[in-house]
């Protein structure tokens, strides 16, 4: 797809629902928008069924607002809370079987490369912590070992949130959830470190409490994955429903965790990725 295709046939202009006319007139396709442009255009996700105060919903909104080329992006999702929002997102997206997302994305990326050899088609995996660090860890890591040119984004709400609140590998040690009443017995999986060791050339852990840093990390990860290697972004997206805090306290909760050192925000850029980014970002506005 190219943004040039986003034209409504004149004969049917009058019957197209307003949502589509708005997407054509003021959507983000081909515009190169960033976080600071939010509120000035029709967004890719405007309605969703996620809970009030959901850190994941906010992270998703921010993520979608900084895609370098939404018209040439395919999101591969997996079972989890985020999958409930994707049917409403105005992007190509594929829902894969639970845990299969990186395997599906690998095949998709290769097929798109064959079909559109002269074009960048960004394949971005957006999945929860259960799909990324538990059920799909094999597929995730194998895709990194193979050096697949895809971006993996984990929305880390530290639990299996839409199935009643079971602990995941990303739940912090001691976490008590509705279906984990005895408290988690082992440490949170150190996914950023695993990603780096497994071959990701760009790794970041960010949160919606700092939207500009989140935007920059997503953009960098997608750009680097076009040519240099696999990339990984972990977004801390706390869940008020399962961790029993008020919906309006999500950002406060992130800041507290960051402050007490139980959730580390970080960025790793390999030398090759650094070189590539220096060329890409040179002379452009830093998001």
């Amino acid at each position: 797809m190219s943004k040039d295709f986003l034209r409504i046939s004149p004969a049917f202009e009058d019957v197209m629902p307003a949502e589509y006319r708005e997407l054509v007139a003021s959507g983000p396709y081909g515009k190169g928008y960033g976080i600071s442009d939010l509120g000035s255009h029709k967004e890719l996700l405007e309605e969703h069924p996620l809970c009030a105060g959901c850190g994941l919903a906010l992270s998703l909104r921010l993520t979608l607002s900084v895609l370098p080329a939404p018209e040439d992006t395919v999101i591969v999702g997996s079972t989890g809370c985020s999958a409930l929002a994707f049917p409403q997102v105005a992007l190509h997206n594929i829902h894969s079987l639970f845990g299969n997302q990186n395997a599906v994305a690998s095949g998709l990326k290769r097929a798109l490369k064959l079909r559109f050899p002269d074009k960048h088609k960004d394949v971005v995996v957006v999945a929860g912590d259960g799909a990324t660090a538990d059920i799909g860890l094999d597929m995730v890591m194998q895709s990194w070992f193979r050096g697949e040119l895809i971006t993996t984004i984990m929305l880390d709400n530290e639990a299996y949130a839409n199935t009643g609140g079971q602990e995941s590998g990303m739940s912090p040690k001691g976490a008590v959830l509705y279906m984990a009443p005895k408290g988690k017995k082992f440490q949170k999986v150190n996914m950023p470190e695993l990603a780096r060791e497994a071959g990701c050339v760009y790794v970041a852990a960010v949160s919606p409490a700092n939207p500009k840093r989140l935007g920059k990390a997503i953009k960098r990860a997608i750009l680097v994955a076009r040519e240099v290697g696999p990339t990984y972004v972990q977004i801390f997206a706390p869940c008020p429903t399962n961790f029993k805090f008020k919906p309006q306290e999500t950002i406060k909760r992130i800041k507290e965790r960051e402050k007490d050192g139980t959730y580390l925000m970080r960025e790793y850029i390999s030398p090759e990725a650094q070189e590539y980014l220096a060329a890409m970002e040179g002379g452009t506005k830093d998001e």
């Binding site: 295709f5 409504i8 046939s9 049917f12 197209m16 629902p17 589509y20 049917p87 409403q88």
Partner: protein
Amino acid sequence: MSITPYRVLVGPEGYLPPAAASRGILLPEKGEALIEGAIVPEEEAMQAIATKLLSAKNPFFFPGPQLLWDWKEGVALKAQAVKKLADLAGARVIPMPDYRPKYPMINPAVEINPNHPNLTIWHNKIDVCVFIGVHCHYANMALKIIRGGTSCYTIALCGEAGHEDAMISLCCMGMPELARLTEIIQSMKGEQAA
């Protein structure tokens, strides 16, 4: 053992009706068409479509993404011809702009979604509908759901191989075929008026 051939008839056939292909309904060759599961000459099917549309209480056209979006040369012209055909048949148009399963957030008064087309059929009390410009797999799925849950008569004007799951299906639908169907409807309307 006697086998009664499967017929693709007006529903509601019930939850999860079979895919017509799995019951032995074959697709037509060029110049042929399907009427309720039987292969007939294209001209006969066009006459049947015209009759169905002109005798319907509340006919609708459902153009799909291949026609709604001006994505390649010739599409805008074809869209114009389809709009003219719908207007001539006295049918209203509800678009299927994409295939996102937006359940339950569509407005059935203004759009149709292949994952729950029955909502639009029920809401607008549609008795005859025409699919055109919908990619094959989504058209088949939507046609099957409509047959399963509604009493709407389905017609597919397909640019490719046709649709077994529609009650009437043309195949290889290009501009000449659209023009011929328009001509038939025009002349049938003239006869009715006379």
